[in-house]
Amino acid sequence: MTEQEVKYFIDVVVNYFRDISGEPSEMGIPFVKEKETMLLDYTGLIGISGAKKGAIYLTASKEMLGEITSILLGDDDPGEELIVDMAGEIANTIAGNVRENFGASFMISVPIILKGCPDDVIIRMVPPIFIIPIKWRKHSAFLAVGLE
């Protein structure tokens, strides 16, 4: 992963929050994790194949995903099933949008959704894993990108 490629992801995330909410998001300074993952309440994981190989995931709190879901549906109480699904949809949108830069050979899987930090799930990503901290409203989330 080059610095420019990390920037592609940052730009897509910034645009996502602007488009979906009309509100800005702030990206923290990306950092590298070699092995262990950092997961919040819900995580949407997308496998990448083709020109690049590895995975990306978006992990966020239930509250943050609930507020985004509420904006989409105009419903203050969207319910657990929709909130969980939102994690996968955000990850899918980010991975899909970044094809503008990587091209059509950047193949993305359907999302896998994780709740919490399940012991029986191993996220196979290609190190180094770049973690991009995201701040939107009062919430924090992380986008992890591990590609070769």
């Binding site: 488009d19 549906l73 699904d85 950047f106």
Partner: protein, 121 residues
Amino acid sequence: MKMLIVDDSFVIRKTIEKYAAELGIKNILTASNGKDALRIFESESPSLVTLDITMPEMDGIECLEQIMKIDAHARVIIITALKDNATGLLALKKGAAGFLLKPFTPEQIRDEIAEVTGGMI
């Protein structure tokens, strides 16, 4: 008007359904993959289909091809996160009447549905 919304994301199906209902479309069917979508398309003959591309079982491009074989005049709007020119061109070449990128705004989806249906609603 009968409409079929095809997307593996529950939240996206609900979102499109909400905006379509606000346009006055009352008969709305949904499917979460291409195989179910084809089955519903054959039995229900919807006037309008919104179709995601990245889905389990059968992806949206293959589903679009099958739909166009069943009805060459089907009105299909591709709604996808895949933001590369090749995918958009491929969808239009396969017969899609419209193409909308995720994330979309309420205005964008209402405009796209209105344009593709040509004021049929």
